[in-house]
Symmetry: D2
Subunit: 374 residues, 4 copies
């Protein structure tokens, strides 16, 4: 069942009609970097965990805030820093994605790092979010150190992004296959410009029977005899949900000049891509979505009036349509890139079999090729 | 192109895996009634409009409030009474769906009717919502009278519900076909009981190219040469959007004993069914969702403590999954039931051709039949 | 008990430390006009009602939207148009304040007026809000006509604003004295400019024992033997609250260049002034607050990028402090300007006796005069 | 200037008209415990910090959730666990209040403690909140350990609560005097029962000139010559605000049977007491309010329907009025109990001088004694 993994498009499957950016990743948005720190070990604890960081502004976020907005589709998860985003509409720190038990470690690491690197008030209320990887990884191990977090920040880079069982996604499970980190991007023509819209997800949610790939109910055709379910051990998710109904974090980034309220509108649209792929926001899921826009530059320092730009709301539709596409594809990239992982207590989360995926998809393939809308 | 219309299931197309109630309509929820008043005339103005009313509690809603919750996926629409729903978590009046220009007429009609029928404080802050039918109907006509609204309330009945170009849906357009009113229901086993979940939509949103039916991109296969677009006249929606990107109202009802916050959770899930069918919440759309639950009885009168029941949150997942199904099917029923309508300035909104729908669906049909989950 | 009424400052009582604008009214904000239509008659029904309109942009609001934000401190009231404000962050119509039963009449009047005056899409989702005047006025009379509403819009003017029992405030009761319309303004130095912040309230809320004037518990010193309570008849507010615990609408306006999220922040601060004067958001109150900022110009038409200005958040504090002052003073102006009114069934709402107010205030007067902060 | 400190009532000053519980503290609510861990040292770093914990259910909160609601008046602060509270309306962990830099330490400590003490899924998404004490304490010291946090949880007790410069309040500054922890309670008769409403605040907000004590503008009468301001050193708060405009955390608890939405209503009312005492929600303040109600018992385990009680909304007014009182008094108790503290770089935050307070208050004392309303 172990095969070379691939991104969705490498399998001949395309989501939607907007063109992608150069590497089809959130890093196509100028200045957005991604870093991973993956932690895999079998002793003294079985650990399959890590940290993924999205760093805007090529690292100068401490002095150049993008506008931002937040939306919770289902709130049984954690994202720190949200009250500030709701109040000021800005992002003031890198965004860290990790496991449930160590949000605090990552948060204080950012506080300390910001202070040391940039002076007293950088990263005081940072954004750290989580999904739960306790099925595969011993959460009692508290394996992530502050240094791991800072390493992920400092190694963040532009260009292609590792996906699947990597960084914060190392131990994650999605639609009852092995999940993790996925990303995608779209080019959006609006208001006379071409902007980039990128998504990065840490996908740890959903049940198999609801999984769809571009509308094709792939999950229904790969039953537990074909590929065992991770929940077969009877383990339970924290707060009493089955393991298969956990969380998804979605980060949307664009270089368009959106104002804060428009970022919130965009964050809400992340729901669309999740829904198309079969997510329903199960009861114990933390479906927390963050959108930021780098098209304006802002900082709290100083008291001079800022001259900013604002995309007219009437030019938002291409972003809304593309956000559905880019999130769906990012989720599917997480699935197609993640390899089978065996971890805690010998439990295994199996990779989505790519041969099956392609076969099922081709059997029902019926999307007309189409040009991107202007 | 005019053919006998039918509900989606009559065409052999089934959405999802939960079973329907007896008539597959919101009226399957005990005590929920639906009434329509359709207004079609050509002189002195060309009018294609009306009123649809959802009446809970077999009309005793003035003295027996269901719990309720509201969600706005995109707010360029109107629903009166929302601040009360957000504050108290109850529904205190029938729910009226009508056109944009006459929300006020319908609202004051309910106020007056409540006072006359039930005494001074009934229906003082009623729920009236709208979508825009000015493409087919002369909104300057202000054709709806207070009497029309009351007639719709008083004729509300249980049992099968007329769908398509009827009542508030008379002049509506959905995914660039003729739209309007649609409804569906599901039976949900949860916490040891079988509950009913029903949806009723007034669908006036979406673009054709994004329309999907159970994942099949039907809209891509029926181009404007096959069936003309309603926007071909170049008319524009209020507030500058193209006509095809307007609004959808979704009402969810259940007899489960939900508390107000759980109704809000359910209302948010209406997004899922809209997304699966291809809605994206275009910029000028009023995508306003209301969920109410009749499983408890409550009123503001008196100061005694109420004994109520609460479904555990851990039993909500079947409702969340079923809400996606029931909304998708209600939207599609609006499309398959609505007939072609010609109205203002000779403009025509064409019905979704059922032969095409069935042919395209069967060509790509690939959903395994499945039993409802327990 | 009938004496010549006066504004609070004419009585020698000053709220806070920021200076007022020229006429100490919301009309000090450039371009903001106010119009009233007062309807008082005794046959065939006893009517004490009316309409007050706040018209931004000297009437050109149909083509030049201010940014706006909304906050509900307690939602048992109505304000139409709120979903649009939450979504786009703009105000697209005049703001109408009236009684509970005729929100619909006023709303549809604005829709019709907008269409006729400015073309098809003006004022399609207008803002109309209410408080309940059924203690003094026969709400069954439905006395307000569409023409009354339009008259109020068209007569709106800059300069001094009539206060107390006028327009929408004609039948209102505040802290168990006669209430109604009140207004005030402040000059705010921020970010190198001097801006104007204005408030207009329709005050129909609160109980007497909690009324405070600049911290002095005036309400405790004017008991029901000195001035009878309006609730002595035992009448009840809609939705079962005592008459004395009804609603307050607060409109804040400024010419500062705020973005939508900052308007929402400002709207939330209206709570402060209400709280200082003794309001608590009683259970049946509709405490609905709207803030708009005219410092930027925006419209949905066109798809070009807008160049706008944004006050830095770090320059918001003077606005927050001034908003508390301006709302407290507007509420108190409503009380000191309103005359005693006798209405339906011979019921009387008594004016706050100004001699008592001044005597009690002077007895406990202890605010140091101070300069406005820079 | 150093005198024996006292609670406000010991000085003869009473806030409002509702009676207090036995010890006038949040611990009057049955089952609510409070624990402090205070950390004061001068080497190797100057540390004035700590942790305060509110523990509901006598520690059995892992298996018996109270309902809860959250409100952010100004969001420039952190409270973890809020998405869960917004979604489920329950509190699932102790509530920890600490400094800004170590929210993460406290959070992960709770996660670890919950797992070890109660099994795998306790305290996975705990509530930890912060205000900033970097003026007096070296935030680079990261002085708080996981053990400190757990010690505070385990030492939590009923009965009188230490106030002022203790626990999480050790380094806090309020209205430019020394601030910190304060608490108060009220007995509320409603719906035929007597309930307890308690507040606990970590007060680190406000400017001196706006401080009011029961309406008396005490802050105006104690100028910086009489008592120096803490901001005289020119230090700045994180994110660019002056030190004097920082944050306040407010926890409200009651044994009444509120449902989640009613807890949210109550949390919003915390604004009233803060406003009466002179708070305005300055730009950089984290004014985050949490209310929980122990009158019902609930847990996510199991799928059986819960029988719960619900106070009618019409019985909420005494809670709303009392919440204003109890928060104002808790803030003032923080001020009157906190002693002068000298810390980092020799900076001093001076205690509110009680002699001055009493003298100023008596000079303007004018509140009639009154009975509590029924």
């Amino acid at each position: 069942m172990t095969t070379a993994r691939a991104r969705l498009r490498e399998l001949g499957i395309t989501i939607g009609r907007y063109p992608t950016g150069p590497v089809n990743a959130i890093t196509d948005v100028p200045g957005v970097l991604v870093g991973h720190k993956t932690i895999i070990r079998d002793a003294p604890n079985v650990v399959r965990t890590g940290v993924t960081v999205v760093v805007p502004r090529e690292g100068r976020i401490h002095e150049d805030y993008p506008f931002a907005g937040f939306f919770s589709f289902n709130g049984i998860g954690e994202m720190t820093g949200v009250p500030l985003i709701d109040e000021w509409g800005v992002l003031t720190s890198p965004v860290v994605l990790t496991n449930t038990s160590q949000v605090g470690t990552a948060r204080d690491a950012l506080v300390e790092y910001g202070t040391r690197a940039y002076g007293d008030f950088a990263f005081k209320l940072p954004v750290v979010a989580e999904t739960y990887d306790g099925f595969l990884s011993d959460s009692d191990a508290f394996a992530i150190t502050r240094e791991d977090v800072i390493e992920a920040v400092e190694c963040a880079a532009s260009g292609p992004v590792a996906e699947g069982s990597v960084g914060g996604g190392t131990g994650m499970i999605c639609h009852e296959f092995k999940g993790g980190i996925g990303t995608a991007s779209r080019l959006v023509k609006s208001a006379g410009h071409t902007y980039t819209l990128g998504a990065l997800v840490q996908a740890n949610h959903g049940i198999r029977s609801l999984l769809r790939v571009d509308g094709v109910p792939v999950g229904q055709y790969i039953d537990s005899e074909r590929v065992p379910l991770p929940s077969s051990t009877g383990d339970r998710h924290p707060l009493s949900a089955p393991i298969e109904a956990s969380s998804i974090l979605i980060i949307l980034a664009t270089d368009a000049p959106l104002v804060p309220l428009q970022c919130k509108r965009l964050a809400r649209r992340a729901t669309l891509g999740m829904a198309r792929a079969g997510g329903v926001g199960h009861n114990t899921s933390g479906d927390l979505f963050l959108a930021f826009a780098t098209g304006n530059h802002y900082h709290e320092h100083g008291k001079e009036i800022w001259n900013i730009q604002m995309l007219p709301n009437s030019a938002m539709d291409p972003f809304f349509e593309a956000s559905a596409e880019v999130v769906e594809e990012a989720i599917l990239n997480a699935l197609t890139c993640a390899e089978t992982v065996t971890g805690l207590h010998g439990r295994t989360a199996y990779a989505l079999p790519l041969d099956d995926l392609v076969e099922i998809y081709q059997r029902f393939n019926r999307v007309k090729s189409s040009e991107a809308p202007e």
